[in-house]
């Protein structure tokens, strides 16, 4: 496909250039759908309908297929994530060592379920199938930093300090 027929990006946002570059690298091949979606997810943090329509047009695949792929894979999200996030690992080793209880404690304290974001958009609670830090079980990740073997109190304190912007370690 030539550049002339490339659809216009949904907005003026410069991040669309990253997405376009990723699609160009794969020659706008329809097989590169997942790669392209990865670039959207990485650039924007989520994939909304505008992004899906854009990718669908650029790669010449039906929008329905793009939607099907986005919703099939856990890695892609349709909604923006909270400013901060807490991931609780639910791998077997972590589950055996009590990560299920940790998860429920966070759910209760912040009144959200796994996969949800608080109403004020501050905190997203996510679960992972295994982050591979089984030696640190039960493992959690708060704002990208792995936090191993926390007690309930330690985890709450860490989350709260992130929310309040104070780095108490």
């Amino acid at each position: 496909m030539t550049v002339a027929t490339l659809p216009k990006a949904p907005t003026e946002d410069k991040r669309w250039r990253i997405v376009e570059a990723a699609m160009r690298r794969q020659g706008f091949d329809s097989h590169a759908l997942i790669e392209s979606l990865h670039s959207v997810q990485q650039a924007f943090g989520f994939i909304d309908t505008h992004a899906m329509a854009y990718v669908a047009k650029a790669l010449r695949v039906p929008l329905a297929k793009v939607y099907g792929v986005v919703t099939f894979y856990h890695f892609f999200t349709l909604k923006p994530q909270g400013k901060h996030n807490c991931i609780v690992c639910l791998g077997t080793a972590c589950y055996i060592k009590g990560s299920g209880d940790l998860l429920r404690a966070v759910e209760e304290k912040y009144h959200i379920k796994e996969g949800e974001t608080t109403a004020d958009g501050e905190l997203s609670l996510l679960v992972a199938r295994c982050i591979g830090a089984c030696g640190l079980a039960p493992a959690t990740v708060v704002d990208g930093e792995v936090f191993g073997k926390p007690t309930h109190e330690m985890l709450m304190k860490r989350i709260q300090s992130k929310l309040e912007g104070t780095e108490a370690k």
Partner: protein, 554 residues
């Protein structure tokens, strides 16, 4: 690059490395990095520079050393000594102790069975080489097997060597690798162009297993080399490494390794001065356990929803883009270079009659030494758990060990003395699996464990075939009911019936094996199920254990 040039790189790097008096290896695998190992590496590097000893002391980041529970680990020279639980602030202490006696409290005893009972084949260079420096890897023997295969062996010879070694697929099913290779070698493409693919399955989705990640992070060139040799043997010119997007460090290291290999003309056209061409690229998974199934993996690489399709045709005949495709697991490919280098008979001497070589396990759960271990096939579970693993912590009693993840089963005290090989584990009601090994003590409830795995299979079911999509959901609801003491004896009978049905009629491995954790816990711990059923009615729906269960609408 020619094989001679490869050798001269190795010699030159060896000489360079030899000039240093000491070499500090800092584990920068994912596990240690999450305990600030990257900061340890930085502080050591800075400390060496500041102390003006950067001509004498070399500091490198290396792959996983295995004992993840005691990380971050730092090894001085060849584990003399090996430091454990290192904090970034410990850097000066380590540097000061270089030519003196090391501080005892930081030293990890390398004479303990955890290290002594292991046998490193796949992981021999992990923890020793700098995975981000191709010349360091070449100095430790990387690509020497590729050179040997390309210059002294025919593709047929390579396949014969792999067949004779007795290597079997490390992804879990244990299909003979040589047989798979020869099928792909014999297959011809759909259009006679002869395009074939080699795919490396790095979609390690088992919760509680991280062997492949550590191999990709710690010694990525070994995986690339294995794939290259496979490409030469089966006549493929393209390779794809399918890695989980959840492993950013592995992706980064593999990318770097591929770029370095291309720049050094080890990948691409006319590899090592021969007329063999091989290109490699990385495809990211996007978080779907079912993509570990080979036909689903192919669908995912093609940009589709990762749903499996019925076999035959097998990927060996019609796989990626309908071309013959060789799919092997990361660990399988990583076994190839040593087999070519040291010969099939050396490899066949390790292990048992039908299971050769070594296997890496991720030993986790209620065991003292959690981490990665590589052991010869045929070792007993007791040796793994009590000698290497150091037994159960906190004075608790051993209850069961789970192998094979959501497709596997539990083994109890009675089965601890069976040898670890494909057949024995299957006979005992579990499977080898990809290498997850989770130890449980007396506090673990087996109904809860079964429910945990079923919840996993339920949410990871791709939804294509009904037995798996609906069956896992119903089984999970029944397990939840039993766990919460709301079930009747009829529910248990229904659960058993569903297990048989889902096992027999599902399309792919995910559904076919999903009932295994239930069946094996039912076999060994039926009393825990019965106990919750017989007392049901005695406690009402809001009884003491009700808060433990998620509400399920099925």
């Amino acid at each position: 690059m020619t094989p001679e040039e490869l050798q001269s790189i190795a010699l030159k790097k060896h000489e360079e490395n030899g000039k240093f008096k000491h070499c500090l290896h800092v584990c920068v695998g994912s596990g240690c990095c999450s305990s600030q190992a990257d900061q340890v590496l930085k502080n050591l590097t800075d400390g060496v520079k500041k102390g003006g000893v950067d001509k004498d002391v070399r500091v490198i980041g290396v792959g996983c050393m295995g004992l993840c529970a005691n990380g971050p680990m730092v090894s001085v020279d060849d584990n003399q000594p090996l430091y454990q639980h290192i904090k970034p602030t410990d850097a000066p202490t380590i540097l000061n102790a270089l030519d003196k006696a090391p501080p005892d409290e930081m030293v990890c005893d390398t004479d303990q069975p955890f290290f002594k009972r292991q046998m490193q084949v796949v992981r021999e260079n992990s923890g020793r080489v700098d995975p981000e420096d191709i010349s360091d890897c070449i100095a430790h023997g990387a690509y020497a097997s590729l050179a040997k295969a390309l210059t002294t062996m025919s593709p047929g010879d390579v396949i014969q060597e792999v067949t004779k070694s007795g290597l079997r697929g490390r992804g879990g099913a244990g299909y003979p690798t040589g047989l798979k290779w020869s099928t792909v070698a014999k297959a011809s493409g759909p259009d006679g162009r002869g395009q074939k693919y080699v795919v490396c399955n790095g979609d390690e989705g088992d919760p509680g297993a991280f062997m492949d990640r550590s191999v990709m992070e710690g010694d990525p060139h070994r995986v690339l080399e294995g794939m290259c040799i496979a490409g030469y043997a089966v006549g493929a010119s393209k390779g794809i490494v399918y890695v989980r997007a959840e492993y950013p460090l592995a992706v980064k290291r593999l990318n770097k390794a591929i770029n370095q290999a291309v720049r050094n003309e080890i990948l691409g056209r006319n590899i090592l001065g021969t007329n063999f061409n091989f290109d490699l690229e990385i495809r990211l998974g996007a978080g779907a356990f079912v993509c570990g199934e080979e036909t689903a993996l192919i669908a995912s690489i093609e940009g589709n929803r990762g749903t499996p399709r019925p076999r035959p045709p097998y990927p060996a005949n019609s796989g990626l883009f309908d071309c013959p495709t060789l799919i092997n697991n990361v660990e399988t490919f990583a076994n190839i270079p040593p087999i070519i280098a040291r010969g099939s008979s050396w490899f066949a001497n390790i292990g048992t009659e039908k299971s050769k070589g070594t296997k890496i396990f991720a030993l986790t759960g209620k065991v003292k030494n959690t981490g990665l271990i590589e052991v010869p096939m045929g070792i007993t579970l007791r040796e793994i758990i009590y000698d290497i693993g150091g037994g159960i912590p906190d004075g608790k009693a051993f209850k069961a060990v789970q192998t094979g993840g959501p497709s596997g089963g539990c083994l109890t005290e009675k089965e601890l003395d069976i040898p670890v090989d494909y057949e024995s584990l299957a006979k005992a009601g579990s499977i080898m699996g990809s290498g997850g090994m989770i130890v449980m003590d007396e506090t673990s409830n087996m109904v809860d464990v079964a429910r945990f795995f079923m919840e996993f299979c339920m949410s990871e079911s791709c939804g294509k075939c009904i037995p798996c999509r609906v069956g896992t959901c119903q089984m999970h609801a029944l397990l939840d009911k039993i766990y919460n003491r709301k079930a009747t004896p009829g529910d248990l009978a229904l659960l058993r019936e569903l297990c048989d049905m889902v096992k027999a009629t599902s399309l792919c491995g995910l559904g076919q094996t999903a009932p295994n954790p239930v069946l094996s816990t039912l076999k060994h711990f039926e009393n825990e199920y019965l106990e919750r059923i017989q007392t049901s009615g005695a406690t009402n729906a809001h009884g003491p254990s009700a808060h433990n269960g998620h509400e399920v609408n099925a």
